[in-house]
Every structure is written in structure tokens, then in C-alpha cells.
Symmetry: C2
Subunit: 256 residues, 2 copies
């Protein structure tokens, strides 16, 4: 096993991408130290890792918070993600063999089943994983890590924006990417990737006031003492529109 701080950083990362720890949430050293039954120093090391990953921000003498990217940064993250996936697509266009295409199709099929059986949570996860699988097929670990980090940050962003997904649409995009790629039609693939991500971003309105729906203690409870594997609790989504929202905007469905 690697270090304790790495393990804790992993758990915190998990909690953040599960939307159990929302942007802006204070990550107090003492509190986390008590939760994980570990000294403050180990916590601080974990927080440094999170900050390096862009998932937390540490303010001197104020402590660490779950990152709250600006709209600008959100755009940049999606732009970067698009750039990376387009580049990978260009590489795969030449190099991907039949086995790779089969793997991609199989994944899409699994997600399709999840959608049709109404398992939205699973469909969401599989939708994310398609992108990860896509990059993994490039067989470039460095690229994989960069991409994974960007994906984590987009997942964090989804805590900040209010919208539901139109899984079918995104799923169709995945299917089309595979088909086009197999035909060697690179240009439409790259445009599709662009619009795919843009469709996720467009229409999303950032809700700058995010209230901590769970305290860190509540959020982290399911991950403790090794239950992490079997208890990937999805996000308990509380309906927006209570006291603070200023009653402005509500969810926007991605255009079909």
C-alpha cells in the first residue's frame, strides 16, 4: 500500500466526484484528522495532493476548501478536455485495431442497457467511463493521467451547475464517434467531440452559491474502514430552490 495520505486523498477525491463534498466546502484539518483517526499532518499532505490535482484550493492561514472553479476555468477545463480527446481520436484513427473497436462498442452497449433499464446512476458512470476507455486505448499512461485529472475536474464542475443529462443524446454521440472513427472520417469525429462537450457546457448556469448539503463527517462516513469498494453511494441530490438560490435559474436539458 502507498502512504496513508495518498489513501486519504483518494477517499476525498472519491467523495468529491461523488458530489458528496461540494465546491466551497471547508476541509478543516482537525475535523478530517478526527474523521480518519490520523494526525493533522497526514491530512495536510492529503490536502496538498488534492490541491495539486485541482480539486481543492488551499488559502494560506485559512485552510483548504473543495475547489470552486470560476466560469472561465470551467470553460478552460472543457476546452482542454476537448483538445485531449480530439488528439487521442486522431491517434486512434490510425492505430486502433478491431479489438479496440469491439471494446468500445461493448461499452456503449452496456450503457445502453443501463439507460433502458432506468439505472440512471450507472448510465452516468458508464458515460464518463467511455471517455476514459477511449483514452486508455491510446496506450499512453501519461495521457491517461492527464485526461483522468481533467475528467475529475469536470465531474467537480457538475456539482456547480444545475442540469440533468440527456443520456440518449450523449450515448448516440459515443456511438457515432465509433462509427466515424472506424471509417477513418477523422474530421467529423473531432467536430463531434467538440459539440459533445459543448452540449454539456452550453446552457449550464453556474450557481455560485453552493450550500454544503452534507458535513464532511456525513459525506465521508461510507468510505471509512474499507467499505469504500462496495458502497459507492451516489450523490444525494437535494432539489435546488431553497433559501439561497435567489430563485434565478433552473436546470436546462441538453438540446436533443
Amino acid at each position: 500500500m502507498s502512504s496513508r495520505s495518498q489513501a486519504i486523498a483518494d477517499i476525498l477525491t472519491r467523495a468529491i466526484i461523488d458530489h458528496r463534498l461540494v465546491p466551497g466546502c471547508k476541509l478543516g484539518e482537525r475535523e478530517l484528522a478526527e474523521i480518519f483517526e490520523v494526525s493533522r499532518i497526514v491530512i495536510r499532505q492529503a490536502l496538498i495532493r488534492l490541491a495539486d490535482d485541482g480539486l481543492a484550493q488551499i488559502e494560506r492561514n485559512r485552510g483548504a476548501f473543495v475547489a470552486r472553479p470560476s466560469m472561465q476555468e470551467a470553460m478552460e477545463i472543457y476546452d482542454a478536455l476537448t483538445l485531449v480527446e480530439q488528439g487521442v481520436a486522431a491517434q486512434l484513427c490510425d492505430r486502433l485495431g478491431p479489438a479496440g473497436f469491439a471494446e468500445l462498442r461493448q461499452h456503449v452497449e452496456r450503457q445502453r442497457q443501463a439507460v433502458s433499464s432506468g439505472n440512471d446512476a450507472l448510465a452516468d458512470v458508464l458515460g464518463q467511463e467511455f471517455h476514459t476507455l477511449f483514452v486508455r486505448l491510446s496506450r499512453n499512461k501519461v495521457m491517461q493521467e492527464i485526461h483522468a485529472q481533467l475528467v475529475r475536474r469536470t465531474t467537480l464542475l457538475r456539482s456547480l451547475i444545475s442540469a440533468d443529462f440527456d443520456y440518449c443524446n450523449l450515448l448516440d454521440d459515443h456511438q457515432r464517434v465509433i462509427d466515424l472513427l472506424e471509417k477513418g472520417r477523422l474530421k467529423p469525429v473531432m467536430e463531434l467531440i467538440d459539440t459533445h462537450h459543448r452540449s454539456v457546457v452550453r446552457g449550464y448556469i453556474m450557481d455560485r452559491q453552493v450550500f454544503p448539503e452534507l458535513t464532511p463527517r456525513e459525506a465521508l462516513q461510507p468510505y471509512l474502514d474499507g467499505k469504500a469498494d462496495e458502497a459507492p453511494k451516489p450523490a444525494p441530490r437535494k432539489k435546488t430552490g431553497e433559501g439561497g438560490g435567489a430563485g434565478a435559474s433552473r436546470h436546462v436539458h441538453a438540446t436533443k
Copy 2:
């Protein structure tokens, strides 16, 4: 100022990309703690940052070493760098205005002067910075950071390989990228970027035995007490194939 550990991580990073700390070099906590007159904890935090950046690797109960990427990883890093710069080129092809092109040309001109005046060290730095400037023009901070990290890692790789640069050739590449980009000829630009990086990698033979030419104490001396700004000592390149540490094996973190 940010935290002490960040400052130390920055100095170590500097020392590594200056080739004063070479791959495989042991980064002992106690030793560094004495050098920087700081507690071991701060050092460990700095080392965590370095490891997250891919510049160091931490082995449990063995300590931290300057990273020694494998040939495979070296290829992946260059592939990733190519992918990123190609993507940025595609973006700039549409979005870059006259001011941007002027900035690029001015930079190339500066490097040309450095080359013709025989200042190889400066030319080397400027050659690197061209790529940084290129990405900065995309105005995407996230992408910039990813790219900067990749560049640092390639710089680290250059400690492992034995070859000198043909500055003129690389300089011409930069010039041609600008010209082609201005004409909107994206495809040749992307091929040029590819061959540009490939020309750096190809022919390079990884010298797996890298002897620490400087002890950490010697390597870090110039960066201490704020002299960092004005003393960017270049790498003291000692010809390979000597008795090195005089038999007194400064551990080299032997592979296998």
C-alpha cells in the same frame, strides 16, 4: 507568499530542470531538511508535490529520488506533448491575431540572435520558452499548466539522454510553424510539430547509468537565500564515462 513547502518544491524543480539534480539522485529528507534549515515535514510535503508533478518518485520506506522515466515513459511524454501542441496549433489557427504572430516572431528573433552570438545556454532556454509562449497564446491556463508540466518532464529526460541540439534546425522549425500557421495551413503545421519532437527523441540513446555529478547540497547551494532569481546556473555538463564518485558509490538507484 505561499507555503514554505511550495517554495522548496519550486527550488527543487528548478534544480532538476537545470540538470543540477539528475535522475536517480536520492532526495533524503534529513539532508534536505538541513540544507533548507527546515523540518523534515516541510521537506516531505515538498517531495509530495514533486512526485505529483512526475519529477520525483517516492518509494515506500525507501525515500524519494529524482524520477528516472523509462524509455517507454519518455516516448509517452513526448507523444503527449505533441498531442497538446498540435491541439493548441489547431486552436490558434483560427483564433490567433496579428499581435500574437508578432509576439511569436519577436521571440524567434531573440533566439536567433542568441544563437548567432554563440550564447548556447540562452538559446536553449529560449527554444524551450517558444513552446511555452505558443501555448500561452491559447489563453487557457489549464492547458498551460498541463503543458508546462510536460515540458518540465521532457527537460528532465534530457538529463538521461546524451546528445546536443541542432539549434538552427529547431529554430527553423519554429519559424516555419509561424509562417504556415499564418497562412492557415494547419495540416503541415501539425506534421511539423510531430517531426519536430520526433527529431528530438530520435537518435537519443538513454544512458541508464546516470551518476550524480553533484550532491544535493552542492546542487542546491546557488538557490538558497533568495539568490535564486539572479543565479540561474546552467548545468555543469561533465563528460560521461568517468570514475564519477570515486568508487564511493553515491547510490544510483539501480534498476533491477
